[in-house]
Symmetry: C2
Subunit: 155 residues, 2 copies
DNA sequence: GTAGGTTCTAGAGTCTGCTCTAGGTCAAGC
DNA sequence: GCTTGACCTAGAGCAGACTCTAGAACCTAC
């Protein structure tokens, strides 16, 4: 998983269908990735057909994580372009990854704030249902019945 | 914030612009919410103009949290419809909220897994940059130079 | 009374990230 | 020889969530 030289290479020829199976991405999506410039290299062909290898799969699995954690396609493309541009821009690649890491950390924090609030609501509903007072949680109709006793702050 | 009766009501008339300011949503979005059936009541009018109150604002703030935590508009609409349908479906509302809470918890877990992997990458880049060996992290060109020594597992 | 700001409706347009279609090539197995 | 299945390209279509446009009404202040 680290960066020692040597590893995966040409022997390891994989068809697009095989790569789809290994990555969980659809064949359509793998072709679309190419059009979008998301691979780390131009995918070679045998005749017309793409020939992937296990390094491509490893990159796609990383892509899955980056996308699942909310990195936009455009930023994955930028990273791929940096790698394609060759050595010398590693600081830039690091900056991009660090920025994303920070983004994700912020999002986790934000989600946990949301969870607090949502769980609070769940709790209120649970307690009112248990107590048999759930009908007091919110009471339409909204027709103006005169006074303003009907509406509660939040349901 | 809980569910005691009484509170916010008719006196509290707010224009759409005011609500936009208080919720951070755009005026456009507030109107779109109405078309999409996301409010807990039909928003009344003074002439043509919508008249909101602070309970609407409270609901919109909750909506912000639900959306920020990934609840699709369609599900917010379902919840709003349940509330509009009046008392008697509180168990359904609770189920909806509970399901969302579980979704969000799963997503937090998933994001933390992603963070692990991303931080691992960041770490590799940092260490290689510090050691001055960053150029070994990835080495194009990809032109077939004969042997397969060029490609590493993942950049 | 007129300029400026806010609001209205209905509907079109945008952006992201896929997903599918049409029409075709190619290799293997019966 | 023919069918089947995997693959190809180019491009259209789609879902979700907004976002904006056009054209008009209305209210307040000068």
């Amino acid at each position: 998983m680290t960066t020692t030289a040597g590893g995966a290479a040409r022997h390891n020829a994989l068809s697009i269908g095989e790569v789809a199976r290994q990555t969980g991405l659809s064949v359509h999506t793998l072709r679309w990735f190419e059009r979008e410039g998301l691979y780390l290299r131009p995918i070679p062909r045998a005749g017309q057909r793409r020939v992937f290898d296990s390094a491509d799969v490893a990159w796609l699995l990383l892509c899955n994580r980056l996308r699942a954690s909310g990195m936009p396609i455009a930023e994955i493309r930028r990273f791929a372009a940096l790698v394609q541009a060759g050595p010398g821009n590693e600081a830039e690649r690091l900056a991009l990854l660090e920025a994303h890491e920070q983004e994700v950390r912020k999002r986790v924090t934000m989600l946990m704030e949301c969870l607090d609030i949502i769980h609070g609501k769940v709790d209120v509903y649970r307690r009112h249902l248990a107590a048999g007072t759930a009908d007091r949680l919110w009471a339409p109709p909204f027709a103006d019945v005169g006074a303003d006793a009907a509406r509660q702050p939040t349901p």
